[in-house]
């Protein structure tokens, strides 16, 4: 109060303007001590729940304060949807009128998490008789009661979220998926890995979890060299969205591998893993050359049976650089040999001609 009146008396606005013009700077002074941050561990993830209309289902979410000091946590319910461009989860708050928010109750929504202790929060979903098919919740655990925003600094809050996939099995549920794209990322690879993108669209009304294999071989049928697994982590695809699964075939000689130093992945200046060509001679029998076919067999369960989806793509592996080097070396050797022979026999011819000339003269 006294500062304010002093400020007014001394012509605060003028002083402020002068400060702004002279210093042309503002706010956020450096050097403030950092707060403690947050260290949270969440399990399990994600959570798949199944129920029927008019029934309830529960799950236990466990969150641990992995830091060294007790923290107050709050539980917030959001929903998630698949991003239209990449199929990845986007967290969004519930809108007014979205009833599924009211179906959910938690055993506690505010609690103090002691260091090193897993705290169990029971989540119960009471699906009404009108509920049907897929609902996707995100339960966010965040710090509560932290220091209010301080001037001259940015405040950064941390939180963890558990994604909950609820399947309310009702008549009319449709589990359906389509492979919209199966491609090799290149038509020609110099060295492995060869990389395949399998894009699957969920055309049903509840999430699906496709799985399957890519069989790599010379021909279309049989004689497969390798079998690759699609979606080994059991990722889901939400209704109406697509998800691309990337699968790499790296069983070759030579092959690019991620460079590691002391067990840590080496990255370039933009944070991407550095890959080096690995000439592991024990893999010499895995030299890849020529045309290969990749046959896709993807399977999803439609609720009654496994439904297979097939696809096929071909690609080439030609290690053209070493071939070019070998060709150049062979050509150089041949040129050297030819030159040597020419020199040898050419000298003889010249010698013979000189002798003939001598005899004539």
């Amino acid at each position: 109060m006294r500062v304010t009146s002093w400020f007014r008396q001394k012509g605060g606005p003028v002083f402020l303007a002068a400060f702004g013009v002279l210093a042309c700077c503002l706010t956020v002074l450096p050097g403030q001590a950092r707060a403690a941050g947050v260290n949270l561990t969440l399990s399990p993830l994600p959570v798949n729940l199944v129920t029927s209309p008019g029934s309830s289902v529960s799950t236990s979410l466990k969150v641990q304060n992995s830091g060294s000091e007790a923290v107050k946590l709050q539980v917030t319910l959001m929903k998630f949807k698949a991003d239209s461009t990449n199929g990845q989860a986007t967290l969004v708050p519930f809108k007014d009128g979205e009833e599924e928010k009211n179906w959910v109750t938690f055993s506690k929504t505010n609690f103090t998490a002691q260091p090193g202790v897993f705290n169990t929060v029971d989540m119960t979903i009471n699906a009404p008789a009108t509920a049907a098919f897929g609902y996707y919740y995100a339960v966010v655990f965040s710090q509560q009661g932290t220091d209010p925003t301080k001037p001259q600094s940015n405040k950064v809050n941390g939180a963890v979220a558990s994604l909950i996939l609820l399947d309310v099995q009702a008549p009319g549920e449709k589990r359906e998926a389509q492979v919209t794209s199966f491609t090799a990322t290149k038509k020609l690879y110099q060295y492995l890995p060869a990389s395949f993108d399998v894009t699957v669209k969920n055309t049903g009304n509840v999430h699906v979890k496709p799985s399957g294999n890519i069989f790599v071989g010379r021909g279309v049928n049989g004689n497969f060299i390798d079998t690759l697994t699609i979606n080994p982590g059991g990722g889901n695809i939400l209704p109406g969205s697509s998800r691309t699964f990337n699968v790499e075939w790296d069983n070759g000689f030579p092959a690019y591998t991620v460079k590691k130093q002391n067990g840590q992945i080496v990255t370039d200046n933009v944070g991407k893993p550095v890959k080096t060509l690995n000439w592991n001679l024990s893999n010499l029998n895995h030299l890849r050359f020529g045309k290969y076919n990749a046959s896709l067999t993807l399977v999803y369960n439609d609720g009654k049976r496994d439904v297979p989806v097939n696809g096929q793509v071909s690609f080439w592996v030609i290690p053209w650089l070493p071939i070019l080097i070998i060709l150049v070396l062979v050509l150089l050797a041949l040129a050297g040999l030819w030159s040597m022979l020419r020199h040898t026999f050419g000298t003889d011819k010249r010698e013979t001609a000189r002798k003939r000339y001598s005899r004539r003269s």
Binding site: G20, V28, Q32, Q88, L165, G233, G263, T267
Partner: protein, 341 residues
């Protein structure tokens, strides 16, 4: 006198004969091996197994060793459907170190017949010495169908001993464990200061906070961010230095107001996944990231497990010469991490 002499003679004869008999008994009778055991490497009923024999000799000179699994009593191995394989392999290469006994010497060969395994090619054994040998075939013997104690007889040369072997219904303990999927998210601090006062002459960044992720989630993980003010807000100046547009990378220009948030660097750690910043929020190059607002925007993702994946998060701001001076410009950024679905 004659009678006395005759009695003495008879006594002497009896003494000599008794002594001779005792001496003969001592030479010819089999002695007992000692400190002996036969360890079958699986004790469960009806299970094929290898075995280890350890015994201590009494006398010297034995050049063969045999194990009669049936033994001498009624608890017969083969009588309870136990088996002795006809094909046997014997080795003493590794037993000495384990048992402290002497490796059975010689060029060992072994064979099985009926209830007996015989090891031949043994170099003459020394007296009072512990020896060991392994019947290395995983089906050297097959345990009987009936659990109980069996008494095989081990013979080395002329010496032997009965040992006890126990066969049980189940000899294994199955250990089960669950490693639950977990997601650990560490934010290094809750306050992030600009490295200097904002100036129209330069773009100023914050010191940065790090977000470290450790997870065994095979599907990888995601991180989102939002802010409270859609910019840097000063209450005193009633001014917000607005966030640049969301969803597209921005490079701030000194002298032009702007506020952006981005990931200035990524350390991959040692997990199986590759962490990458969403293009809009990649501030590793000349760009400063993108704008934040009240909507959670995905800023990074990984396609697999993470062990010490570290994102360095920084905000950056530029002001113009007319940006009002104030010392309370601030923003609150919330960063959320989750395992992918």
């Amino acid at each position: 006198m004659k009678k006395s002499m005759r009695m003495l003679s008879v006594a002497a004869s009896a003494f000599v004969m008794l002594g001779g008999l005792l001496a003969w008994q001592g030479l010819a009778a089999a002695a007992s091996l000692s400190n002996s055991y036969l360890r079958i490497n699986r004790m469960a009923t009806s299970t094929a197994t290898s075995a280890r024999l350890v015994f201590k000799t009494a006398g010297a000179g034995a050049t063969s060793v045999s194990i009669n699994m049936n033994g001498a009593d009624s608890t017969t191995w083969t009588g309870a459907s136990g088996l002795v394989n006809t094909t046997q392999t014997a080795s003493s290469a590794s037993c000495a170190a384990d048992t402290g006994a002497t490796a059975l010497p010689g060029t060992l060969a072994a064979s099985g017949a009926a209830s007996t395994v015989t090891i031949t090619g043994v170099t003459a054994l020394a007296a009072a010495t512990s020896y060991c040998v392994d019947l290395t075939s995983t089906s050297a013997v097959t345990t009987p169908t009936s659990a109980g104690e069996y008494h095989p007889v081990v013979t080395a040369g002329a010496d032997n001993i009965t040992v006890a072997v126990r066969v049980v219904t189940n000899d294994q303990i199955v250990v089960n464990a669950v490693v639950p999927p977990t997601f650990n998210f560490v934010l290094s601090g809750n306050t992030d200061n600009f490295t200097s006062n904002l100036s129209a002459g330069s773009v100023v960044k914050t010191t940065g906070v790090t977000a470290t992720v450790n997870t065994n989630a095979k599907n990888g993980w995601l991180a989102w961010a939002k802010d409270a003010n859609t910019g840097l807000t000063s209450t005193a100046a009633a001014k917000t230095i607005a966030s640049v547009a969301t969803g597209a990378p921005a490079t701030l220009v000194a002298g032009t107001e702007g506020y952006a948030f981005g990931i200035s660097s990524i350390a991959q750690g040692s997990g199986g996944g590759t962490t990458s910043a969403v293009a809009a929020y990649d501030a590793s190059g000349s760009a400063h990231g993108s704008g934040l607002d009240a909507t959670l925007r995905q800023i990074a993702s990984s396609n697999g497990t993470a062990n010490g994946a570290v994102l360095t998060l920084k905000a950056a701001s530029a002001i113009s010469g007319s940006t009002p001076a104030a010392n309370d410009y601030t923003d609150t950024i919330t960063v959320i991490g989750a395992g992918n679905f």
